[in-house]
């Protein structure tokens, strides 16, 4: 019986090793798609990494940009259409899942590549301040693309520790991030394991410690590099829930002693009629909003803040 049990253990081990081989194969060329189909993993593509990876590549490009606009998806919706007609401004709004840690890394990568930079703008809605390292989009947007680019070392120790607690050190390496991007099957297994085991609960609240720390880090980084840092509020729908969210965030800023430094974020917040927004009440309705509308919105932000000087709002 002992001999049989040893053989059984060896068989199980061999099967697991072969399965690991299949996982390796699933990242290679045509096998990636085949295994994705056979394992119903086609939904786990590398789109998030490609999206954020493009922003990382863009901010690292050594061009003539002297100012950087970062932000969430609302920022990208409004400012993104003008990204190609601006040379002095690098516009790289992404989304809230990037977290403030991701925004910090993008800013750092920009400042590293642009020693003469003068301004860094962070244009976000209150939602970004509540985004932590969750099991949903956090890994794909805030961790994997930066791990693949070898940028995670730029974070402070506490944020790195939180990242490790949330996603596990082996999965924050460039090798694993690139493997998971190449193999939807591997990404599926990892992300679903995260959902099941939840190694660390994501932070919650209107201003999570992760956001607060990285906001302060961003301010300090810009100061150190001689660039001005501007925190601006992205356009908000004039609705009860958005007012409630802003009020909660304002109170959190006051409690954290940050309000005086960033009061303009609250006093100059651009409010728009709810009817201009889509179903989610967060993004403008693309059916009615166009380039002219976004140029008008940016113009109003420029007038209210006296910032974003020289931003080109036309392709003429």
């Amino acid at each position: 019986m002992t001999k049989f049990l040893l053989r059984l253990a060896a068989f199980v081990l061999a099967a697991l090793v072969l399965f690991a081989g299949v996982l390796g194969l699933s990242a290679l060329g045509p096998f990636s798609e085949i295994f994705a189909k056979l394992t119903a993993s086609t939904g786990y593509s590398a789109s998030a990494s490609e999206e954020i990876g493009a922003h990382i590549t863009a901010v690292q490009a050594e061009d003539g940009a002297t100012a950087l606009i970062l932000g969430d998806s609302v920022c990208w919706q409004v400012f993104g259409p003008f990204s190609l007609c601006n040379t002095a401004y690098r516009i790289d709004g992404s989304n809230r899942a990037v977290t403030l840690a991701g925004q910090y890394l993008l800013a750092k990568a920009f400042l590293d590549a642009h020693p003469d930079a003068t301004d860094v703008y962070l244009i976000i809605t209150p939602d970004s301040f509540s985004a932590g390292f969750d099991a949903g989009y956090g890994y794909q947007y805030a961790a994997a693309p930066f791990a693949a680019a070898g940028l995670l070392g730029g974070l402070d120790d506490t944020t790195r520790a939180e990242l490790t607690a949330a996603y596990g050190a082996p999965f924050l390496t460039g090798t694993f991030a690139r493997w998971a991007d190449a193999s939807p099957l591997v990404k599926k297994l990892y992300l679903n394991a995260l959902e099941v085991w939840q190694p660390a609960a994501a932070q919650s609240g209107p201003l999570v410690p992760l956001a607060r720390r990285n906001l302060e880090n961003l301010e300090a980084l810009c100061q150190e590099r001689g660039a001005a840092f501007h925190l601006l509020c992205a356009p908000l729908a004039d609705s009860e829930d958005r007012h409630t969210a802003m009020a909660s965030l304002e109170q959190a800023f006051r409690d954290a002693g940050l309000y005086d430094s960033y009061s303009a974020y609250f006093t100059q917040a651009p409010w728009y009629d709810r009817a201009l927004f889509g179903e989610d009440g967060v993004h403008f309705d693309n059916a009615t909003a166009d380039m002219d509308f976004y140029a008008r919105v940016i113009g109003e932000i420029q007038n209210a803040t006296g910032l974003l000087d020289g931003l080109v709002l036309s392709y003429d």
């Binding site: 099967a15 399965f19 119903a40 993993s41 297994l189």
Partner: protein, 472 residues
């Protein structure tokens, strides 16, 4: 907890380990504890109903055994049958007439209720001795490898094996474990590699049949028959394998049904434990074939309508049962005409007969898989309409997946063919497999194990396809 949940392998390994390590006398208690734990994972209501059916049927069984007069025995028989299958009957029959009625769902009820009824009936007929030990009776009722979807147990086959296990007369041998685990691996492959992909493909056909082209609806019916077979046969093999590892040999629930050459033979090969139960406890007590052709036809009608009702509390299940009764009656009436043709035509006629059985089964199964009688009739009409519509690859399953399912079907067909041949020669497929060189066996099992692991990944991150028969 199904055979696919991540915790099942851990639960099963722990149960097996404890079961074989404790003294033989304690093995019954271990099986009962495992059964209770397993059923508790399906909710308190399921566990409570199992406990109630177990306690009441055991108590009435004791009463029946102790009764001195025929009248008293009959009273206990009725009480015992009511306690065993009364709630099951209510759950199946009441919704037919009171559409708003909601009765508590009890996982596995359709299977263990029939086991309890079989015990009471066998006791009454003197075919099995009374089980004085509540613990052993509870093990019979709650034996976890089969509680979800059978095979439906019989007291005469289970209790002697349990006695041997508890007396230390059955031992854990490498051959027992090897056979059990290999059977389980085969069951997983049937379900994960073939049935789940076919099910992912067939489900949209049944849901969007009005948009599908006529050939796709035909393929949907054939695909559903195959998907259902590999789903249930896969579960049955898992149950058989798990039970074998625990020292209990359960009877086979399927014997290559699509190799049957008549509908009568089909029911001797498909869901054998239910067919056998219906034969022994419904058809034969009604008189079987002993009271003339007309009465025999009536008995067949009643038996198959009961079978339809057992499958579901909806008219389309009853109609499915009725169709099979009519096929049986048709077979009975045409028997004299077919008799001179028996054995003629060689292999070609054998396969023609097998194809005929498959077509009959697949067509009746349209009513089984449909949501209503109207849908079933509509699908059959669409099959012959020649209507254009969605093609096979418009239904969310890719050609790559279907190609793999087809490959699985070819492998399964070859294995079934080999098993059929081996059985005809008084052997079995496993014995043939065991006779292969060790390296070949290990390589084959490794390929199977890795294939199962890969296809198990389909279940992650989605609604894990459950066993079709678990709903009954």
């Amino acid at each position: 907890m199904t055979y696919y949940s991540l915790v099942f392998p851990l639960f099963f390994a722990a149960a097996v380990l404890v079961f074989w390590l404790v003294p033989p006398k304690a093995r019954g208690a271990v099986l009962l504890a495992a059964g209770i734990f397993y059923m508790a994972s399906w909710g308190a209501a399921s566990l409570g109903i199992l406990a109630a059916v177990t306690l009441l049927s055991w108590a009435f069984g004791r009463g029946l055994a102790a009764a001195k007069t025929t009248a008293a025995r009959r009273v206990f028989l009725v009480l015992g049958l009511l306690a065993s299958a009364g709630y099951l009957f209510a759950r199946k029959a009441v919704p037919l007439f009171a559409s708003g009625a909601v009765l508590v769902t009890a996982t596995g009820l359709a299977f263990y209720a029939l086991q309890a009824a079989a015990y009471i009936a066998d006791l009454y007929k003197g075919r099995c001795p009374v089980q004085k030990s509540l613990l052993r009776y509870a093990v019979y009722m709650s034996f976890f490898p089969r509680i979800l979807s059978g095979p439906i147990g019989r007291p005469g086959e289970f209790f002697p094996q349990l006695e041997e296990l508890c007396a230390g007369q059955r031992r854990c041998t490498p051959d027992r474990l090897r056979r059990g685990l290999t059977t389980m691996l085969g069951g997983w492959a049937e379900k994960l590699v073939i049935s789940n992909i076919l099910s992912d493909w067939v489900t949209p056909i049944f849901a969007r049949w009005t948009e599908c082209s006529a050939p796709v609806v035909v393929m949907g019916a054939a695909g559903f028959a195959l998907s259902l077979y590999f789903d249930f046969a896969g579960y049955s093999h898992l149950a058989l394998g798990a039970a074998r590892v625990l020292g209990i040999d359960l009877p086979a629930n399927f014997r290559r049904p699509f190799f049957a050459q008549s509908m009568g033979e089909f029911w001797q090969r498909w869901h054998i434990s239910l067919s056998g139960w219906l034969r022994d406890y419904i058809y034969i007590p009604l008189g079987g074939s002993r009271r003339g052709t007309l009465r025999r036809m009536l008995n067949l009608l009643v038996t198959f309508v009961v079978s339809g009702l057992w499958h579901g509390s909806a008219w389309h299940y009853l109609f499915w049962g009725l169709l099979h009764a009519l096929l049986q009656i048709g077979g009975l009436l045409t028997k004299p005409l077919r008799r001179p043709l028996a054995g003629r035509g060689g292999a070609v006629m054998v396969w023609v007969r097998r194809a005929f059985v498959f077509v009959c089964f697949a067509l009746t199964l349209v009513f089984f898989g449909a949501d209503s009688l109207g849908q079933g009739a509509g699908m059959l009409a669409r099959m012959v309409s020649g209507a254009p519509g969605l093609s096979p690859l418009d239904l969310g399953v890719t050609g790559t997946e279907l190609a793999f399912a087809a490959l699985g079907l070819v492998v399964a067909f070859c294995l079934d063919l080999a098993a059929e041949k081996a059985e005809g020669q008084g052997s079995c497929l496993y014995d043939r497999f065991a006779a292969l060189p060790g390296a070949v066996r290990t390589a084959a099992l490794l390929v199977l194990a890795v294939t199962v692991l890969v296809f198990a990944c389909r279940l992650i991150g989605g609604d894990a396809a459950s066993f079709y028969y678990a709903q009954f």
